[in-house]
């Protein structure tokens, strides 16, 4: 039945999720406190959560529901993006519940089942419940199993049950397939939401708008004009207290497999026939299938591990000295790979992907670097300082676009030099723009999956990355790089072999 109050011309009305609850497993974890709870509050504050929305925490710690509500309250107070408002809080607090128990304990799941049934009766959540697994991936099978055994995964008529998992989606192709099987046995494909919190919907839509809403970029978006593409995600922080998660995983699995390959897909894909979920996904999958590794992996990959030192005026410890890290660990904190895309559009255009921790600054960007003009009607000395033109899509921190091109230096001598032109939708755009997690959670509650990677994409990404990981596993230790630099010398050498250099983002 269509809703008579929803008119497609009425662009003011936001979509508000229907009555439902969100059950968070691992609710005492860092992510839940810093990101999930504040995002839920922010959604409520923006009026996007349904009246009678319920938030159920599930963890091992012993809490009364009031204690748990206090935890949520504190997390919201500290981390929420929008100002704290007592009315919004009251609205949210009415729906907060807590279930104590072990992830493997059927009794706890029976209690959870009872709690959500009560919510259906008390708040009218209507049997709609999403399960957010904010727990180590090793525990997914246990929880999914329990959800099935307790009947929680069973969706009634006119009601839905959804499951949300966070990256990493496995640690190689085999484990990803295993995970997909586990989830797939209990939840239908459309009910599984894979969250890559690095990849905000805003970013994806920005890239699609830039490429496909404009006339001036797409004609040069191919191997006739593009020399190569650099996709960078740099973090200035170390691993912090996440050694348990990070050691043995490393930068490639943590970031390249999901985030950078998604950005590559968005940059390289053909125009979808519509912006429908299916059509966008279809094009992304197609381009990921066309991605191949160069034959010589030693020459076309690089990895590093940060060493201690002074970073931006602060003395920081090296990776091997971080607490919880095996002192003999060969886990990489910097990874760079060269990829080729076997399509007519991208023939011979390498895509260089790099990511690392403890780099000079926090930045994520896609740089499309163009070929030099085929003929320069200037004296060689005039253009000595002219580099390649580039179009840079800045993903964060300040989302926007930078164009680099040559311009004459003012003066009587003819001299052409690189200059940059920036567009940002306002420096503080990110302040008021809905944060990635809010969009993600809202999409889950609305059942809107367009930008969540499906398992086919996840498996394609592992197919691309697995040979690199195998090669690295066999080739000793990563090269050390100084904290606060732009990575190991091998990464620079990797580009130098192709006669190119990394941008300094």
């Amino acid at each position: 039945m269509t809703n008579p109050l929803r008119d497609p011309r009425d662009r003011r009305l936001p979509r508000i999720a229907g009555p439902c609850s969100l059950v968070i497993f691992g609710v005492t974890g860092d992510l839940a406190r810093r990101k999930l709870m504040p995002a839920i509050y922010d959604l409520a504050n923006r009026g996007l959560l349904p009246p009678g929305f319920a938030l159920v925490g599930f963890a091992r710690r012993e809490f009364a529901t009031q204690d748990f509500a206090q935890v949520v309250h504190d997390a919201v107070r500290e981390h929420a993006r929008t100002p704290f408002n007592e009315d919004t809080w009251q609205q949210l607090a009415a729906g907060i519940r807590y279930v104590m128990g072990d992830l493997g304990d059927p009794a706890a799941f029976a209690a959870l089942n009872q709690t959500v049934s009560q919510l259906d009766a008390e708040l009218g959540t209507g049997g709609n419940h999403a399960f957010y697994l904010s727990i180590p991936p090793g525990k997914f099978p246990t929880v999914v199993e329990q959800l099935k055994a307790s009947g929680l995964s069973q969706q009634g008529a006119d009601a839905w049950r959804r499951v949300v998992v966070e990256k990493p989606f496995g640690h190689d192709l085999a484990s990803a397939q295993e995970l997909n099987r586990t989830l797939g046995e209990v939840f239908p494909t459309g009910s599984v939401f894979r969250i890559d919190h690095y990849l905000g919907k805003e970013t994806v839509q920005n890239i699609l708008a830039l490429r496909f809403a404009n006339a001036m970029f797409e004609p040069v978006w191919n191997s006739n004009f593009v020399d190569h593409v650099q996709i960078t995600m740099a973090e200035d922080i170390g691993i912090g207290g996440r050694a348990g998660y990070y050691d043995g995983i490393g930068a490639a699995r943590d970031v390249i497999q999901n985030h950078l390959l998604q950005l590559l897909a968005l940059t390289a894909m053909e125009e979808p026939i519509s912006f429908d979920a299916t059509h966008v996904r279809f094009e992304k999958e197609k381009i990921l299938q066309a991605v191949v590794l160069p034959e010589d992996l030693a020459a076309s990959t690089a990895r590093g591990q940060y060493a201690g030192g002074w970073q931006g005026g602060e003395l920081v410890s090296g990776y091997l000295e971080e607490s919880g890290v095996d002192p003999a660990s060969t886990t990489e904190t910097y990874a760079a790979v060269k990829l080729l895309v076997d399509t007519r559009r991208w023939a011979g255009v390498p895509f260089y992907l790099r990511t690392g921790k403890r780099l000079a600054r926090r930045v994520t960007e896609i740089a499309v670097v163009f070929k030099r003009a085929p003929h320069l009607p200037f004296a060689a000395t005039d253009t000595r300082e002219l580099g390649n033109n580039a179009l840079v899509i800045r993903v964060q921190p300040d989302e926007g676009v930078t164009v680099r091109f040559g311009s004459k230096v003012p003066g009587t001598a003819m001299e052409v030099r690189d200059v940059s032109m920036d567009f940002g939708y306002g420096e503080s755009f990110t302040e008021t723009s809905p944060e990635a997690y809010e969009r993600l959670i809202l999409d889950v509650l609305l059942g809107d999956p367009p930008l969540f990677p499906r398992h086919e994409e996840v498996e394609q990404s592992w197919r691309i990355l697995d040979p690199v990981l195998d090669f690295w596993a066999k080739s000793g230790t990563p090269q050390a790089y100084g904290a606060g630099t732009w990575g190991p010398a091998t990464a620079d050498a990797m580009l130098a072999r192709d006669g190119r250099t990394w941008r300094r983002p």
């Binding site: 109050l5 011309r9 003011r12 508000i16 408002n85 009251q90 567009f423 940002g424 939708y425 503080s428």
Partner: protein, 304 residues
């Protein structure tokens, strides 16, 4: 901030350019020009709300403050460019004497090149926004019927003068209500047979909301006077009972849907900044508003 007294538009342009290059802010992209027309009494609040909205929409804000009178024609300007107080730049212009009648001649040279123009009358609105010289520069014209002494009469004037691109903050104020009502009807529900809108006697948002409900649902809608503040309740009658939103205190609402437990919803009256943010998000004509506005005169009188 820079103050230029007894100046010209050319000098103002030059001062903006200089100030920007001094601050190194030449390349900051402005996405639109917002012309704010306000009286001396309202200008400070209006410009403040506009600059707050600039955090989401980097824009040039032209404050037009007419000071008609017998004094010599004189133009005074206060300029604060991007970077100092936020991403927007604010140029407050006082048009004294005879110049007060020639606002467009002052505004035109100061518009951001090739970017959309929006005009917002933060004090009194002209009878016909689209025929107003400043309104003619703009793609979108924002009025606020609630400022007028007889708000619903003002709305009626807007209805006769409507042109695509017009919008009114009285309509913007209904959005959270409309969103909540639409969300309530997203659930399975019985057929809606009628509706009631309760609001304070002069509230101009109420007839718009009633007209919208009437045009979407095709059912009779009754207006009821309440003590306010603003909108206080909407009831949708269905065969199984009323779907109701009641907000007696202007902050918190209770949503009741037959077959579901009642629930509390935060439904604050929004600040001007938030209303402007919503308005600036889309600059194309709002056809749904046009439709509601056209029907709204039927709902001006409160029912028995």
């Amino acid at each position: 901030m820079m103050r230029l007294e007894d100046t010209t538009v050319a000098a103002i342009s030059e001062a903006i350019r200089e100030e920007k290059s001094r601050k190194g802010a030449i390349a900051v992209g402005m996405v639109l020009t917002l012309i704010v027309v306000a009286d001396e009494a309202d200008q400070a609040d209006a410009l403040h709300a506009a600059s707050a909205a600039a955090s989401e929409h980097p824009m040039r804000i032209l404050g037009i403050i007419p000071r008609p009178g017998r004094t010599e024609a004189q133009l005074d300007a206060e300029i604060s460019v991007a970077g100092a107080d936020g991403p927007g730049e604010v140029i407050a212009l006082r048009l004294r004497g005879a110049m007060a009648a020639h606002t467009a001649s002052v505004a035109l040279p100061l518009l951001v090149p090739d970017a959309p123009v929006v005009v917002w009358w933060a004090s009194d609105a002209p009878k016909s926004p689209v025929k107003d010289p400043l309104g003619q520069l703009a793609r979108r014209r924002i009025t606020d019927a609630s400022l007028a002494g007889r708000s619903r009469a003002e709305l009626q004037v807007h209805a006769t003068q409507y042109a695509p691109g017009d919008t009114d903050l009285a309509w913007t104020r209904t959005t959270p209500w409309r969103a909540l009502l639409a969300a309530a009807l997203d659930r399975p529900h019985a057929r809606v047979t009628g509706a009631e809108v309760h609001a304070s006697r002069s509230n101009p948002s109420a007839p718009l909301l009633a007209a919208w409900l009437h045009s979407c649902l095709g059912v009779p809608v009754t207006m009821r006077a309440s003590r306010g503040p603003g909108l206080t309740a909407v009831h949708l009658h269905t065969d199984t009972g009323d779907i109701s939103i009641t907000r007696p205190d202007g902050t918190k609402a209770i949503l009741q849907v037959p077959g579901y437990p009642a629930s509390e919803v935060a439904l604050r009256r929004r600040e001007t900044r938030d209303l402007l943010l919503e308005e600036l998000r889309r600059l194309d004509p709002d056809e749904v508003y046009a439709q509601a506005l056209a029907l709204s005169p039927q709902f001006h009188a409160d029912g028995p």
